[in-house]
């Protein structure tokens, strides 16, 4: 094996290691790639429960059906300041792991938080943002029209 082949193989090997280390297939990784914040699969599951507590399934889809936790993760990762990201992660880690009845336990935990709690504020704001702007809500509930093709400046509201 000459030097060139050896080097080539080394790079192939090193590349393989690099690829392996950047793709974490363990159960611990969240289901979307995050750039700034670190979350585990368990964090993601907890976040999904928290959002379902805030916007539950009723006769219409809730937070889990609409995958709002993935939206909130994305927005905290990309659109919040480093200070808010830190406060969000700290708040998330402080949530006690629910035992038997996640929705009830998480509801009483969230209701016990001070109204100005930064974690709660970000969680709710981003959750509501994702809900209102979801395809489901915009197509079925609060209808968004891409092409209204009209303007009426004085529409009488039916009593």
């Amino acid at each position: 094996m000459n030097r060139r082949t050896a080097l080539k193989q080394f790079f192939v090997l090193a590349g393989g290691i690099w690829i392996a280390s950047s793709c974490d297939f363990s159960a611990e990784a969240p289901s979307i790639a995050l750039k700034q914040i670190k979350l585990t699969k368990a964090d993601e599951e907890l976040l999904a429960e928290l959002l379902e507590t805030i916007i539950p399934k009723t006769d219409s889809p809730g937070a889990k059906d609409l995958k709002l936790h993935l939206f909130v993760m994305k927005m905290v990762d990309d659109c919040e300041s480093p200070e808010n990201q830190e406060a969000f992660l700290k708040g998330l880690k402080a949530v006690p792991k629910p035992q038997n009845n996640p929705q009830t336990e998480l509801m009483s935990y969230l209701e016990g938080l001070p109204k100005d709690d930064v974690f709660l504020r970000i969680l709710k704001r981003r959750g509501i943002q994702g809900y209102k702007n979801s395809e489901y809500v915009m197509k079925n509930k609060l209808i968004y029209e891409l092409v209204p093709a009209r303007y009426d400046g004085a529409l009488k509201i039916k009593a």
Binding site: M75, V147, R150, I157
Partner: protein, 571 residues
């Protein structure tokens, strides 16, 4: 043997060169090409083809990765352009990012730019009010700047001409301060805007509230259909580029029209370095271009050159076009080049609520945005302790709200069942500013950009006149709001840097006297007659009306002049 060398000077020679493809450059190109001139249009940015290059135009809100919000890092990296109201996920690709094209701020100045084919005509707010003799006679009457070399009668036929083609929606209101035009049907005021109009016009007969006039096809005439445009669909997503061609842009209208003649060569990615002046001929012979990507230098030649690079960049380009004859910039015998830069004072807003007409709401969306209050201050004579006056936008909307304080089922129900609130009303000022020698742009002596162009230094600020006018706007609007019975009035002394109005003007002003101005009444450089400047840099004063329509009319009028001069052999 045939000459296989394609890169001869002949292949780089045209009848006319247009520098810039935005709102005025697009018009210049259309008029030149229609009149049969082989025209090279140079644009420093990338090509943007109508519809094809509007990547976000048909996206629903949920199809945006961040639901139209920009990532934190993007906002942090772009403090200047991030202050622009239209800089969001859906249109960020049409704005210059702060780091891409730096400039030097001697005083805070938010320079908002769109470097692409079509320029800012893709992004503009589409308000199109004519100027009147109250504007053109302003400097002479009130003793500032220099007298405009033209009057309304000079430009009126050209307003007619551009309005018919562009498509302007508006009412014929019969106001001498805001002349009527060749209008498509206006977008109506809504019920509360109409109520405010009645209240104001009853209590202050000299003040008017009219439907804002805008460059939208409320109806498509044959001339618009021929352009491939159809009626505006009330999407109000204009900043993405409109697949219907519902509003006027170079991309939807003038550039495809020019291309259809077969006379236009459009060269994107062409940074114009300078205009070439031939000392022996005593005129301009072409332009020096730096290719944006390869950085290669190429000269192009033409009989006549139109400068439409947008106000401040046209200043930069002339300042950078030096020769033995013009050591301080092309045509700058007067020493006024770069000076007397002015803008519109947008630095105050006021909002309130109205508790009437709660059994009404609006339906659909209004592309005109609502109402417009033409200037009434100091119109016929000087009345206040400041010069000139302001126009104002006025809009009303039926607010809705949902209580989002809860959690769980109650929160969800509340979100899905928003309640109608009071009507919200709001206004913003558009004040005329006084051009002064001390508000200027100049070349930086040291720093250059990656194409070898000196950075532009900008030194533009408000003055005492602006501050007095702002206070009067807030006091006067508050009084009118109270008179209309509006509640919860919020005065917003919303200081913003000059530039964010995106109505920067001047530096290459028109005037009668070559000793105190750069351009004659035909937009020719006094000292180099085959160079025409018809964008915002040519403005002698700023008026209160949005300027773009006037740039279009100026461009068409200047081309008409240039072509007749060429025929006479005068250029």
């Amino acid at each position: 043997m045939a000459n296989l060398n394609i890169d001869t000077r002949d292949n780089r020679t045209y009848d006319a060169i247009v520098i810039g493809s935005g709102i005025s450059g697009g018009w210049t190109a259309k008029e030149l090409c229609e009149k049969g001139l082989k025209t090279l249009v140079l644009e420093r940015g990338r090509d943007v083809k109508h519809v094809k290059d509007y990547p976000t135009t048909n996206l629903y809100p949920w199809e945006f990765e961040h639901r139209n919000e920009l990532p934190y890092a993007v906002k942090q990296e772009n403090p200047i352009v991030n202050r622009c109201y239209a800089f969001h996920e859906d249109a960020a690709h049409f704005f210059v990012k702060d780091k891409e094209h730096p400039y030097v701020q001697e005083k805070p100045f938010d320079w908002i730019r769109g470097y692409q084919v079509g320029g800012k005509s893709l992004l503009w707010a589409r308000q199109t009010q004519r100027w009147s003799d109250f504007d053109f006679e302003g400097p002479a009457r009130d003793g500032f700047a220099v007298d405009w070399p033209i009057r309304y009668a000079d430009i009126k036929p050209w307003y007619d001409h551009v309005e018919r083609f562009a498509g302007i929606a508006g009412d014929r209101d019969g106001l001498p301060e805001l002349p009527d035009g060749e209008f498509l049907p206006a977008y109506p005021l809504n019920i509360v805007e109409k109520y405010f109009k009645q209240q104001v016009e009853q209590k202050y007969p000299e003040r008017k509230v009219i439907s804002a006039r805008c460059a939208h096809l409320s109806h498509a005439n044959q001339i618009h259909i021929d352009q491939g445009r159809v009626k505006c669909q009330n999407r109000t997503l204009c900043q993405r580029g409109c697949p219907f061609g519902g509003y006027f842009s170079s991309n939807a209208s003038t550039l495809p029209w020019a291309a259809k003649t077969g006379n236009m060569t459009l060269r994107p990615n062409s940074v114009v370095h300078s205009i070439l002046y031939d000392e022996s001929k005593g005129k301009a012979i072409g332009v020096k271009v730096i290719d944006k990507d390869s950085k290669e230098e190429i000269d192009f030649f033409a009989k006549v050159i139109f400068l439409n690079a947008a106000a401040l960049n046209s200043n930069l380009l002339l300042l950078n076009s030096t020769s033995q004859r013009f050591p301080n910039g092309l045509g700058n015998d007067s020493g006024t080049l770069g000076k007397y830069v002015a803008f519109h004072n947008y630095s105050a807003r006021i909002s309130a609520e109205y508790e009437g007409y709660l059994d009404y709401k609006t339906d659909g969306r209004n592309p005109a945005g609502g109402g417009y209050i033409p200037r009434f201050r100091n119109l016929h004579k000087q009345e206040t302790d400041y010069l000139r006056g302001y126009a104002a936008g006025f809009g009303a909307y039926r607010s809705s709200y949902s209580d989002e304080s809860g959690l769980g089922i109650s929160l969800k129900e509340s979100i899905l069942n928003p309640k109608l609130g009071n009507w919200g009303v709001g206004s913003h000022m558009m004040g005329e500013t006084i051009p002064k020698a001390s508000n200027y742009v100049a070349l930086d002596g040291k720093e250059k950009d990656e194409w070898g162009m000196p950075l532009l230094r900008v030194s533009v600020d408000y003055d005492d006149n602006d501050n007095k006018m702002k206070k009067d706007y807030l006091d006067t609007m508050e009084e009118m709001f109270l008179a209309a019975g509006f509640k919860n009035i919020q005065r917003n002394d919303a200081w913003q840097a000059p530039g964010l109005d995106i109505h920067e003007m001047g530096g290459v002003r028109m005037g009668l006297d070559p000793k105190t101005s750069m351009l004659n009444k035909w937009h020719q450089l006094h000292a180099c007659k085959n160079v025409y400047v018809t964008d915002g840099s040519s403005m002698t004063s700023t008026s209160t009306q949005n300027p773009s329509l006037t740039y279009m009319a100026f461009a068409a009028r200047a081309v008409d002049h240039a072509v007749s001069e060429l025929k006479k052999g005068n250029l």
